[in-house]
């Protein structure tokens, strides 16, 4: 299932539209965080690197760990855009009876590494998983997406050091660098320093890209997958992209009316 860049861009656009619509039904979702990561998620699923219909218990595959688990709606939206979920089910996101919960949970569909909502923990699990796959002799990779705010957690760097020390080049880390966290802009809340330098000094191969340019994401993934060292793709993004009132802000929510209004302007 090879998709060209323009087809992927269309998918991402459709998923972005669904995300904004969902915000009208699920006031608990983190819209801004999901919007910033949608092209990255689309590049991973849309190229078939990771799949929505994974066989339970099988280890001969690639894994996806969304460590910034609050952006799980990006996965739901893309699943709907690719035909794995109905719009009716999307509308139920976050409801008590829905399997589409607001963080990746044990019974959440499509999520093969759940419970990544508590920040930093998905990173450690991804490192353990990559270590385990290598120990099993499996050729599969672990794609890890983390937020920049998440990198405040000491646990993140504890485990990145392990990835570097053990030379885990089967772990492809992507930082969704949107520059905003709960309390505001990262620069004001807690400065991250030179992230590229931090990763490089540990022994990572660093790629810096525009995280909304899907062609660039796919191209960089191909390079990162050939890296001899653990690769990290630092993807500059805009939180809330596509919805002007929340773009580059800490705001995550929209009213039903605004959701319908802005969804209409996408694609």
């Amino acid at each position: 299932m090879e998709r060209g860049v323009s087809e992927l861009a269309q998918l991402a656009c459709k998923a972005r539209k669904y995300l904004v619509l969902m915000a009208g039904y699920d006031p608990g979702m983190h819209l801004g965080s999901s919007l910033s990561v949608i092209e990255i998620v689309t590049a991973l699923y849309g190229t078939g690197r990771v799949k929505f219909n994974v066989a339970n218990g099988a280890h001969n595959r690639n894994y996806f760990v969304l460590s910034k688990g609050h952006a799980v709606h990006a996965i739901y939206a893309l699943a709907a855009a690719m035909g794995y979920l109905s719009i009716d089910e999307l509308r139920e996101t976050g409801s008590l009876g829905s399997r589409l919960q607001n963080h990746p949970e044990v019974d959440t569909p499509f999520v093969d590494v759940p419970n990544s909502g508590s920040l930093g923990q998905g990173i450690s699990m991804a490192v353990g998983l990559a270590l385990g796959l290598r120990l099993r002799g499996e050729p599969g990779r672990v794609y890890l997406v983390t937020g920049d705010g998440e990198l405040d957690e000491g646990q993140s760097w504890e485990s990145f050091a392990v990835a570097a020390h053990y030379g885990l080049n089967n772990l492809v880390t992507i930082v969704d660098l949107n520059g905003v966290q709960l309390d505001g802009h990262c620069e004001e809340v807690l400065r991250k320093g030179d992230l590229a330098a931090r990763f490089r000094s540990l022994g990572f191969e660093v790629f810096e890209i525009n995280g909304h340019d899907i062609g660039q994401i796919v191209e960089t993934l191909e390079k990162a997958e050939k890296s001899a060292r653990p690769p990290v793709i630092i993807a500059k993004t805009i939180r809330g992209r596509g919805v002007p009132p929340i773009e580059d802000t800490a705001k995550q929510r929209l009213s039903r009316d605004d959701a319908l209004k802005y969804a209409g302007n996408i694609c």
């Binding site: 280890h59 949970e105 590494v113 759940p114 353990g128 990559a130 485990s159 050091a161």
Partner: protein
């Protein structure tokens, strides 16, 4: 037969892991710069490819163990119990909520690390791991039981916390029973006036207390619970019913630990006159764990005195 009595508890732990590694290829061992101090080195020497040191980083230790479990392995993650408690939220969110077969082994628990003082003496670990729904909690008494408990832990489906000391132990269980069963209590002494329930290294103190009580004409039963969770409820009820007075003893805080587990159950099934012996404050630096048992009153004499008091009040 292995010379388990002659080993220290941490050596028995290292030996058990190394032997388990021979039997099971899915066993991997992780340490947080504690390969030597926990004696996980014994495993590393025999199975170097399945041994990982993640550095002085307990949260990462637990999270990476969870990832290895997702890849189909049965990880044993070892560090000092006091520092394992630092990764409680990781144990909750990355391990327990997924019910992964991760085994967290907290060594130097209780007063075992007398030298390093209260920062290194875990007296809360039973409480905080017991509260997690899927965790099994094992608290062996001596080296024989450490070996058997670690070996038996491999049969548990979900996550396990195993509490181990350092070098101090009084060999007691080696000939007490043949087979360690997770969830089962073992009767060390039969008695009818009062039941002393114990877990971990305080078992020999309780047995000595029962002897002191016998000299005073009081018949005390001593029941040993190397599994704190799931608790052997049948044994709890049986001895509570037979004696009408239950004293629990543990090298742990009196709040939330083994005694609390017994009290929680009895209060709802068979309210029984009870006392809980343990600690109510942090430890201190000392030259040996024995000095601390004396200082904090975890002694056969004190256990006997509390048991006698219970019998009088019954």
């Amino acid at each position: 037969m292995l010379d388990l009595e002659g080993l220290t508890p941490r050596e028995a732990l290292g030996r058990a892991l190394a032997d388990l590694g021979d039997l099971r290829k899915d066993v991997v061992v992780l340490v947080a710069d504690t390969g030597e101090t926990t004696r996980a080195r014994f495993f590393a020497e025999r199975h170097p490819e399945r041994f990982f040191n993640v550095g002085i980083a307990e949260q990462s230790l637990v999270g990476i163990a969870a990832g290895l479990a997702l890849a189909g392995f049965m990880p044993y993650a070892l560090t000092f119990a006091a520092f394992m408690t630092r990764a409680w939220e990781q144990a909750r969110n990355s391990v327990d909520r997924l019910a992964l077969p991760v085994r967290l082994v907290g060594t130097h628990a209780g007063f075992a690390d007398a030298y390093d003082g209260p920062s290194h003496q875990a007296l809360e670990d039973i409480a905080i791991f017991r509260v997690l729904p899927n965790f099994t909690v094992l608290v062996p008494a001596d080296s024989c039981e450490v070996y058997r408990a670690v070996t038996a832990s491999a049969t548990v489906k979900g996550p396990v916390y195993i509490r181990v000391g350092r070098d101090f132990h009084i060999p007691t269980t080696c000939d007490m029973y043949d087979k360690f069963e997770v969830g089962r209590a073992y009767v060390a002494v039969e008695g009818k006036d009062v039941a002393i329930f114990t877990t971990g290294v305080t078992l020999p103190f309780a047995i000595e207390a029962a002897q002191l009580l016998r000299d005073r004409g009081i018949s005390a039963a001593v029941v040993h619970f190397p599994t704190v969770k799931p608790l052997d409820y049948a044994a709890v009820e049986k001895y509570a019913a037979a004696t009408g007075a239950v004293l629990t003893v543990e090298e742990h805080m009196v709040h939330g630990g083994f005694g609390s587990a017994v009290a929680e159950h009895l209060s709802q099934t068979r309210p029984t006159k009870m006392a809980i012996m343990g600690l109510k404050s942090y430890g201190r630096t000392a030259k040996s764990p024995q000095e601390l048992y004396q200082y904090y009153g975890l002694t056969p004499e004190n256990i006997a005195a509390r048991a006698e008091e219970l019998v009088r009040l019954r």
